[in-house]
Amino acid sequence: MAARTRSGQWAAWAFLAPVAVYLLVFYAYPLYRNVELSLRNYTVRSFVQGDAPFTGFANYIKIFGDATFGPALWHTVVFTVVSLAFQFGIGLALAVFFSRNFRLSATLRALFLVPWLLPLIVSASTWSWMLNSDSGVINVVLGAFGIDPVNWLTSPDWSLWSVTIANIWIGIPFNLVVLYSGLQGISPAIYEAAALDGAGGWQRFWKVTFPLLRPVSAITLLLGLVYTLKVFDLIWIMTKGGPSGSSTTFATWSYRLGFGNLVPSFGPGAAVGNLLIVMALIFGLIYIRVQRRQAHT
């Protein structure tokens, strides 16, 4: 083990220097600029010249009072909670299924990774076409069951569900892979003991698998939460947050304020973004806490 000598410390920090500088210049500084944006009244002209007047929390007060705030918060919560519930539920069911090794199981499990690896623009545009009201394959299939066509992307009642469905599809692989590796960590001896005690398959799942999987589940859900709060591309490409704001979340609202209009309002956009950071960080810190605690036990 390298001693904590002075020369050892020099060498250690020489290797760390690039990443430390990198974090300062490419993380800390953009974030600082973002906070600064949110505290000033920027217009396109003052954005270039850099002489925007300091307005304190005016941008924040503005967005709290904005008619979009309530719906955007609600959509963010619904999108996140529904996505997580289904991703986790389906991912867990699939993980349990795939953990009984059968012929081709490894190959099929690998194929399940595809949706997670595809560029989001690819998944989003494919889903857009599948959900097209007139020619989409989803409505054709529903029609075969006698269900009337649904205006998935163009009806305010359905747009949020459409992007949520697409997001669940994208998130299943992550949950499957992580939960599967969690299942591998449970000793088969425990199952054998439970089987000897007369526990059926269903009981074994609820009494053995589920409790033992709790640490991994907590990690998966928290990480999924942080990821889902960030989702922007998918919604923007599929619906642009519309129609009439019906699928607007904090992430798309922030983008629309800053980049989506002809006249950008960078200040309020940055303010919404900072709210999003705070939300992500709260759950991020809980995640780190849970993970640390698990590492110690």
């Binding site: 290797f15 690039p18 974090l23 973002n34 059968f102 012929r103 076409w129 599948m130 020619s135 991020g284």
Partner: protein, 268 residues
């Protein structure tokens, strides 16, 4: 008895991958059949029109994405591998804090980074340039890369490094000729993900390179959707081509991919 599980597995995989199949199917569908009801389930009267359109219009976008992807891999490795070596083996003072900062950095939404970058890039003149995009894309990969490398390098036996030191190798030599070669697998994992994330990036491209002369493929597809709502075979053909790196990754590096997905979540 064992085969019915395989059968269920095949059905489930089929359902899950149906959108991917549909993308491929539509990419071969003729314009005239595009709005046919019911749609053709197989590309029987297939056409290559869509792919011809890709060759005519999308090649520059694909080239830009390739350059941006490779640049991101290079920058990510350059910054993260030495840092991980230090964190894993050299016990720097304050290393714990840095590791914590990296964990936090991973959780910052890209759209917020994009806004800060926009302000900085505008005043420094890097807006709409490839190097600017490479720098922004690398922020997606660097925290992940340091964490993966650190986890891996912590597992390198101390005796190996001690032997190098006894032979008179300095810290840098040890890093270059012992640690890096031994870490080959983690270098592959990190490079794969860094490339894939840069290749797939839409947030940074659409904010920092919107008016650029050199735009990546994600913007190529996005403009396509915006401009010609009718030519879905061309849009889907571009999507198929844009999916090739992910497919190659999965075929040649399956175990690295699974390792990368899990590493962030399960390992400490």
């Amino acid at each position: 008895m064992r085969y019915w599980k395989t059968a269920i597995g095949l059905v489930l995989t089929g359902v899950m991958l149906f959108p991917v199949y549909w993308m491929i199917n539509v990419s071969f569908t003729r314009d005239t059949d595009m709005r046919k009801s019911p749609p053709s389930w197989f590309p029987v009267n297939g056409t290559l029109e869509g792919y011809r359109a890709v060759l005519d219009q999308q090649l520059p976008y694909l080239g830009v994405s390739l350059v941006v992807g490779l640049g991101t891999v290079a920058l990510t490795l350059l910054v993260s591998a030495p840092a991980a070596y230090s964190l894993a083996k050299l016990r720097p003072r304050g290393g714990g804090v840095l590791g914590f900062v990296l964990l936090i950095a991973q959780m910052i939404p890209g759209i917020i980074m994009a806004m800060g970058f926009y302000a900085i890039f505008l005043s420094t003149g890097v807006l709409n340039t490839i190097p600017g995009l490479i720098v922004a894309d690398s922020t997606l990969a660097v925290p992940f890369a340091v964490l993966i490398f650190t986890a891996f390098m912590s597992g390198i036996p101390e005796e190996l490094l001690q032997a190098a030191r006894t032979d008179g190798a300095g810290t840098f030599r040890t890093f270059w000729s012992i640690v890096l070669p031994v870490s080959r697998n983690s270098i592959i994992t990190v490079s794969l993900f860094a490339f894939l994330w840069a290749w797939s990036d839409f947030v940074f491209a659409s904010t920092l390179d919107q008016g650029g002369d050199h735009q990546p493929i994600t913007l190529g597809i996005y403009h396509y959707i915006g401009n010609n709502n009718q030519q879905w075979n061309a849009i889907m053909a571009t999507a198929v081509i844009a999916s090739i790196p992910a497919t190659i990754l999965l075929i040649i590096a399956q175990r690295y991919v699974a390792a990368g997905v899990t590493a962030g979540a399960v390992k400490d």
